[in-house]
Symmetry: C2
Subunit: 415 residues, 2 copies
């Protein structure tokens, strides 16, 4: 047999990791590169930020995941440039050549040029951001405990979440419960009514991708939990802890959380190819880069339309594309041309906190307690190892019965 072709995969998120796993029987050797040494189960990042889960429950070492795959090697490196013509990537650890390339570096926050937002806001895209946000929430309460001026105290205790998609809604519900159920008991010296969680959304509804009935259910439940939801409000700028909205309204918010938009990793734009929406790169129906059949882009980096609509930046899209690309590369090593990719929508779910979830699976719509149970079960099954499943189950159960989140530690690595 001929020497194995080298496949370089950039990014060990859902797209990159799935591609690496799906290539296990292909006659190739795979090098999986990521700037961190772990894969993150991003749907539960908001639970790390709201002090319910520890990092190791939603993140798992990439090397451990690929260990059973004999033809896959994982390495820590940041990819800084792609040389499509030279068939190599430049990384923080040097130049790496490839025969096939899979770009799966995901997305970053997109602030649409809103003044002050990039500097002022906390993100929920990566584990390090979730940890920072958790520290920030706890810090604000500790500062408020000392603050004598009621206006300063209220500003410290105001958390403005920008963006009413699943991440914004789930985090708003979770942080509202953290405050009402846990921090209220922790801070008897504070009046918890002074704390505000405000969700700001530009559209006239939350959760745009869901059915109108489920959207309204989510809105009602969020408000019943005590969160404020502002619809039809654009954010104009953030200046010194003050969020300024398009209609002139101002919110003194000590903490601003951005969940209102993402764009593709800068690597997509650096390719110099035609761009899609949100700084993505337009790919062929086969997910190949135009003019570079040996290079693929998948997940949040790739732009592809299906039935006249752009495929959304969602985990199921990324994972299905990853499996497609693995099949394509396997075929190419045997001289077969790749086929076009087709996305099959498996449905979606979100949770608004205790006892409240929504799910939309084909024609089926589920809300309330059944929707929540479905959400819990599905996410528990998705968590990557049995150990993490056990520990997450302990923590969820603890929180459910004792209204207690033991992870509320304000800690940073010292260097």
């Amino acid at each position: 047999m001929t020497e194995r072709s080298r496949v370089v995969i950039v990014g060990a998120g859902f797209a990159g990791l799935t591609a690496a796993r799906a290539l296990k029987r292909a006659h190739v050797s795979v090098l999986l590169l990521d700037r961190v040494n772990f894969h993150t189960f991003t749907p539960l990042l908001y639970q790390v930020a709201s002090a319910l889960l520890d990092p190791s429950e939603i993140a798992h070492p990439v090397r451990d995941i690929v260990r059973p795959l004999r033809n896959v090697e994982a390495r820590l490196a940041e990819v800084t440039a792609v040389d499509l013509h030279g068939r190599a990537v430049e990384t923080s650890a040097g130049r790496v050549a490839f025969n096939y390339l899979v770009l799966a570096a995901g997305s970053v926050n997109n602030f649409y040029g809103i003044e002050g937002m990039a500097e002022a806001s906390f993100g929920l895209k990566h584990l390090d951001q979730a940890l920072s946000l958790r520290n920030r929430i706890l810090e604000q309460f500790e500062k408020a405990a000392w603050a004598k001026d009621p206006r300063r105290r209220r500003a410290l205790l105001t958390f403005a979440v920008v963006g009413g998609g699943p991440t914004g809604v789930e985090f708003t519900g979770a942080v509202q419960e953290l405050i009402r159920n846990v921090l209220q008991k922790d801070f008897p010296e504070l009046d918890v009514a002074e704390a505000r969680v405000v969700l700001v959304e530009a559209a006239d509804h939350l959760l745009g991708a869901f059915d109108p009935k489920l959207r309204e259910d989510a809105l009602r439940r969020l408000e019943r939990k005590g969160a404020e939801v502002l619809l039809r409000k654009e954010v104009k700028r953030v200046v010194r802890g003050r969020l300024e909205l398009g209609d002139g309204e101002k919110i003194e918010a000590g903490t601003v959380i951005w969940t209102a938009g993402v764009k593709a990793n800068d690597l997509a734009r650096s390719l110099g190819l035609e761009a899609g929406k949100a700084a993505t790169v337009r790919v062929e129906p086969t997910l190949q880069l135009p003019g570079h059949p040996e290079a693929f882009a998948i997940g949040d980096m790739a732009y592809l339309e299906q039935g006249g609509q752009a495929l959304p930046m969602l985990i199921p899209v990324a994972m299905q594309q990853a499996r497609h690309v693995a099949r394509a590369i396997d075929g190419m090593t045997r001289g077969r041309a790749p086929r076009p990719f087709h996305y099959a929508d498996p449905g979606m779910m979100a949770t608004i906190g205790r006892n409240a979830g929504i799910a939309q699976l084909g024609p089926v719509r589920i809300d309330g307690f059944p929707g929540w149970l479905l959400w819990l079960g599905f996410h528990l099954l998705q968590i990557i190892t049995l150990r993490a499943k056990l520990v997450v189950l302990v923590n969820w159960t603890w929180d459910y019965f004792f209204l207690d989140r033991p992870i509320r530690l304000l800690v940073r690595a010292s260097r």
Copy 2:
């Protein structure tokens, strides 16, 4: 009844937290100050550093611990100065007055002026240091995976632990097991024989406080695990990743861990009173500060001799002193003078890793597997909450049977 006296306790470690709890029936109101919002179970810090436990398993929010105590309030603040005459402490959140003061701010690393050591070394005194050390170990292996020069690779993979006390011995055993049992599988591209864990101790034995028989047992077991133990070696300086010993020997060590000495928190010296060993403050036999009967120092900050010997900087000393001081303050509010403190030594234990522990309880000496089981049981009982006990048990069991440490994440809060 008269108005309650205000007791300010500085530090929520074993000394301060125990004092706060022991004051729950006294007619006082207690303010417990710490620079972090959690209490750390320091005996297991080395397990966080060696990627076996998550922070929330050994650290618990102080506010949660004091919640059931109606007369105790916990606040986040760093105490920067003590005004004994004015009966107040200066903190990062302002001046706080007291009627009684309990100084329990613990100790920090003491580098004895060894050139380069403060800047170059990693500590194991605080949770943030343990997290940094964990990140560092994982980072060194990831860098070594890329390194082509064997000499550079060996330097990256050399970990020099300075100090052969319980912390140094336990960490050496744990990191050696992390490398041999876990990282060896994670890094198939590396030859694990290139990794060195070197324990450097100035005395001619490890674990000075233990029986000679137990000391030798620990040394033998550490060496059998593959760690190198250098006895009778003083560290002269650290220059650019090179540890220079007193006899001229040089060790190229990418990572240096300091466990060879501590000194009292700077607050002790700032009091301007007579100092004991290691920058402590000499206290009266009642633990009061000389000339300031309303102020006490306990734990690692206090110097007191018993039977002609200084009391050691150990958790049992700190906790017994804390209970004594609580009784003393309770008595003083009723007009009774404090009594002298007497320490009752409960014995001590240490572990050298899997299946190997030593314990010295009164006349009883235990080693090997029984010593290890005793160590596990005792520490599990000491962990502060049932939830943390459960999660620690899951992780210990996982590690024992699967030789797997799932916490090996290289992550820092982004700000």
